[in-house]
Chain length 256, copies 2
Amino acid sequence: MEPSAQSSDIRLIGLRGVPEVTQGMSLAALVIASAEATGVTLEAGDILVVTQKVVSKAEGLLIDLRTVEPSDLARRHAERWGKDPRQIEVILRESARIVRMDRGLLIAETRHGFVCANAGVDASNVPGEEMVCLLPRDPDASAERLLSELAQRLGVEIPVIISDSFGRPWRMGIVNVALGVAGLAPLVDYRGQPDDNGRVMHASIIAVADEIASAAELATGKVDRTPFVIVRGYGYQPGVGSGSELIMPAENDLFR
Amino acid sequence: MEPSAQSSDIRLIGLRGVPEVTQGMSLAALVIASAEATGVTLEAGDILVVTQKVVSKAEGLLIDLRTVEPSDLARRHAERWGKDPRQIEVILRESARIVRMDRGLLIAETRHGFVCANAGVDASNVPGEEMVCLLPRDPDASAERLLSELAQRLGVEIPVIISDSFGRPWRMGIVNVALGVAGLAPLVDYRGQPDDNGRVMHASIIAVADEIASAAELATGKVDRTPFVIVRGYGYQPGVGSGSELIMPAENDLFR
């Protein structure tokens, strides 16, 4: 049976048929072609979630490790933990601050302010044995560009979230979060709205962009090449949007 | 146009028509009735996400603050920050360890091992001015009971996730995570599986139960009374399941 119109019914549609993305490719063209191949017509109200990896590939953010000269620090860490010193060097270059450097793992704050393993430098799903992939330089600008190009081609504004999987303190496993956001409010503030009993709620700023990124991961999988997911039927709050709004200023972070 | 069968297509269906839950109510009966009211038939492959609040209410985990005698510590903290000392006392009783106690906020490790604001003690969406709600004593057992009762009534095993919204370090806003899990593997390990380029991936244990909880929140909303969400079409990995698998042992937590 189909749910009635009153129930909230959100769909997460993974788009198929996306080729290996290389530098200079138009992501908007790829989204439109893969939507067509999947049999989906993009429409107003949809949200597009794109994995960081294809954004970085389209932007040419692959580094050939054969061109990298490791520093002494990179060499020493790599030697102690059996790592590639050139990859460690790339991680250090991407870092604004080293948060933890232990047991062969490197947790860093990136130039953008994200705290994540290896400053987001990643060798998985990158073609070539000697290549690693960096995070987009400005994920919000990347999201905004994709939104604009899609709007030009489709005549409809589809919010864009650029996602990546991050570890986090206290809990096992990684989950997808939003690095870049365009076209929707990444935080929705329920404070001041009465709850069902008429009382004002507290601590109810929801990081919906992160939740949307996590939801989309379920339709992406890690092994299948599904970098684009359409989220349909979620009544998002329109806004300029910015992934940097999701970064907690250190001085306010009681969890830190 | 409808997506073709090959594309991954996941649905998040919020069930409507759930009454105020009180102690002793059968959640399984409520799920079945609200599914019917929504026009949804539960089927194999579905996952049920239930917000913690209704589980706690059904289990009678409301505390009347008029019965609580605050300790000196609770009084002093409450006085300094303009809080209700009885509510602080309940939070302290629910805590195994105080992680941070500053600027009027209390972040605690609960008896279960969850690290969250106010040890999960919450006054929102709780009837009565003087009542607060505790987390379920054993969320995995609660999930398992609901799975069993649904299986008895429906003849099909529907995995259950009990969710709550938690803050986290580094990032703004709260997101829903899985407290209790039954019937599915909360962590899916892609390590050792080759990526698209035949290379082995690293750091790819995905906390799918947390991602499912976050996805479901999008269909729940905070204000509407939608405590049950059906996740349909996600090819979950069956398993006994346990939310405690999602708690990172302190000694392994490099993010901490």
